[in-house]
């Protein structure tokens, strides 16, 4: 884990209020990053924003020294980030947390289930899995058509199902509606998204082994402040999402 000041390569609105931000980072560091890890971004140089913003790694391009994150404008801090310009410097802690343990899992076919801002980390995960020869099926959900991003990118890596809450595109409803109506084959599932979605996915897929990535409001992002905890499955212990997670075995935590 390091603190880095890096230049913005590009920033672009790729869907409604959803921005792709490309950062220039040295290859040697990029090579260590695992899918599911995140970076902790300082909003700006003043004192107005005392907390950094945790954003997942969405993609890495070693040949271009490029790290990509995709974020949605939610409140004031992400709004400030949209005003970044090419060449501007940005302050990160990188890489943080534990990613998906794809090195240690034996599998042939992975199911990826993502919702909203939970979709980005699944993209780098999908790429990494496909590189390892693992088949990938992806189910991604959005509120409405304007908010969909990366459908095509996922399609180059395997089968993709898209849902929208309002039915303006793809299957109307939630990602679990796809899980219910499609006959999907897979050994492990990997999911990231808002807590209600994760709960539903975990419940629906509880016969399968899987990994989920959790979100929580963070202070330090490095395990020092105890802001970002989640109870262990037995309720006896608190896990820190920023260092023990954000990726957990679905049976490990109480959500």
């Amino acid at each position: 884990m390091r603190q880095l000041i890096v230049p913005v390569l590009e920033i672009e609105e790729i869907a409604k209020a959803t921005y792709q931000l490309d950062l220039e980072i040295e290859k040697s560091l990029l090579a260590q990053i695992k899918p599911g890890q995140f970076i902790h971004i300082r909003v700006n140089q003043g004192s107005e924003f005392m907390l950094r913003r945790p954003i997942s790694v969405a993609d890495i391009d070693l040949s271009l020294n490029k790290l990509t994150v995709i974020f949605k404008v939610f409140g004031k801090g992400t709004d400030v980030l949209t005003h970044l310009k090419t060449g501007e410097l940005i302050d990160l802690l990188i890489p943080l947390g534990n990613g998906y343990p794809i090195e240690s899992i034996e599998m042939e076919h992975a199911l990826l289930v993502g919702g909203g801002v939970g979709v980005p980390p699944l993209y780098y995960l999908a790429k990494s899995l496909v590189e390892k020869g693992i088949k990938v099926t992806t189910v991604i959900g959005f509120q409405t058509k304007d908010e969909i991003f990366y459908e095509k990118e996922f399609a180059t890596l395997g089968e993709v199902f898209v849902t929208t809450d309002d039915g303006s595109y793809g299957t109307k409803g939630y990602v679990t509606d796809v899980l219910q109506h499609e006959e999907l084959n897979f050994d492990y599932y990997f999911s990231c998204g808002p807590a209600p979605m994760l709960k539903a996915v975990k419940k629906y897929l509880h016969y399968f082994p899987g990994y989920i990535s959790l979100e929580e409001r963070m202070g330090c992002g490095i395990g020092a402040c105890y802001a970002c905890v989640v109870k262990s499955a037995d309720g006896k212990d608190q896990k820190k999402i920023c260092t023990d997670g954000p990726v957990f075995n679905a049976t490990e935590v109480m959500i």
Binding site: M50, L51, R52, R217, G219, C220, I222, A224, C225, A227
Partner: protein
């Protein structure tokens, strides 16, 4: 330049220490720099038994500040001594043990437990905790209760005791004098101001605990005011804390009467803040005509 400060139990090579609760037990920040650079390390509050703390969300961001309601999550004093302190002992830095409790007895027991280790240089008594027996009002809001817990913890400790005051009181001087009378070796001030944020979407307080402690630069003027007022009313040294972001802020606390300072929230924005402040402090002192840290302490009280 001489940055050292000598306080009861604490021979500080410089006046900068991370504040309790913002630095866990040091391991995380040791990934960023050598902890031996610090004046001291104040560890996360220890209670008698393990505590899991409050439900989440536990933090919120506010204008130039943040709210937290961690709820004293910690592994309990015994595990802290056995599992956390040994790592910190690898560094050449005094350790201050912040202690908390829900009853006078618990404070006392935690203080006594720390007697078995020679790893701590001082105790910091966090009297901002709700006093369960007295119906949840903070120990630190009543001078008699504050004095009582100070007296008992002092008697149960074999190291100097610093009492950390809450700013959520009508008259902080009265509390400070009461704990001085009761034997405190020093004061730390201030802890967080009680605040709240409301989640517009969910129409309820954002923190699961509803209220939380407001910290960060937003509260610095309140901290400076309280340090200044208390400095004129007590003889024991003060460790200043609340909103420090820059070397100028450190000097401002020294002038107000603090002998050393703690840095909390700023660690989250900038993990290198403590070593950076240590590096910048000499130039800042020199700019304003000081030759050492000691020379600046309390100098805001005499205009020339």
């Amino acid at each position: 330049m001489n940055l050292s400060v000598k306080l009861p139990g604490l021979n500080l090579k410089n006046p900068i220490m991370p504040a309790s609760g913002c630095f866990s037990f040091g391991k995380e920040y040791s990934q960023f720099y050598d902890l031996s650079k610090l004046g001291a390390v104040v560890i996360k509050a220890a209670t008698l038994n393990e505590r899991l703390g409050n439900p989440t969300p536990r933090v919120a961001e506010t204008y130039s500040g943040m709210l937290n309601a961690i709820g004293l999550q910690n592994p309990g004093v015994e595990r802290i001594i056995d599992q956390e302190l040994p790592y910190l002992k690898n560094y050449d830095v005094p350790i201050v043990a912040n202690i908390a409790g829900s009853s006078v007895e618990e404070y006392e027991q935690v203080a006594r437990a720390f007697q078995r280790t020679d790893g701590i240089a001082a105790v910091e008594l966090n009297i901002s905790c709700p006093n369960v027996k007295e119906g949840g009002l903070q120990f630190g809001t009543n001078p008699d209760v504050a004095a009582e817990v100070t007296r008992r913890v002092k008697a149960a400790s074999n190291v100097p005791v610093y009492v950390k005051l809450t700013p959520n009181v009508t008259n902080v001087v009265e509390i400070a004098q009461a704990v001085e009378q009761a034997g405190a070796d020093g004061l730390t001030m201030i802890n967080s101001l009680t605040g709240m944020q409301i989640d517009l979407q969910n129409r309820r307080p954002l923190l699961a605990n509803k209220v939380g402690g407001l910290t960060g630069p937003a509260i610095k003027p309140v901290a400076i005011r309280m340090v200044y007022q208390v400095y004129q009313a007590v003889k024991i040294p003060i460790i200043g804390v609340g909103g420090i972001m820059t070397a100028e802020d450190v000097l401002e606390f020294l002038l107000a009467g603090a002998s050393a300072v703690q840095v909390g929230t700023a660690n989250f924005q900038n993990p290198m803040i403590c070593p950076e402040l240590i590096e910048q402090l000499p130039a800042c002192l020199a700019k304003y005509g000081f030759k050492s840290v000691e020379e600046a302490i309390g100098k805001g009280h005499h205009s020339e």
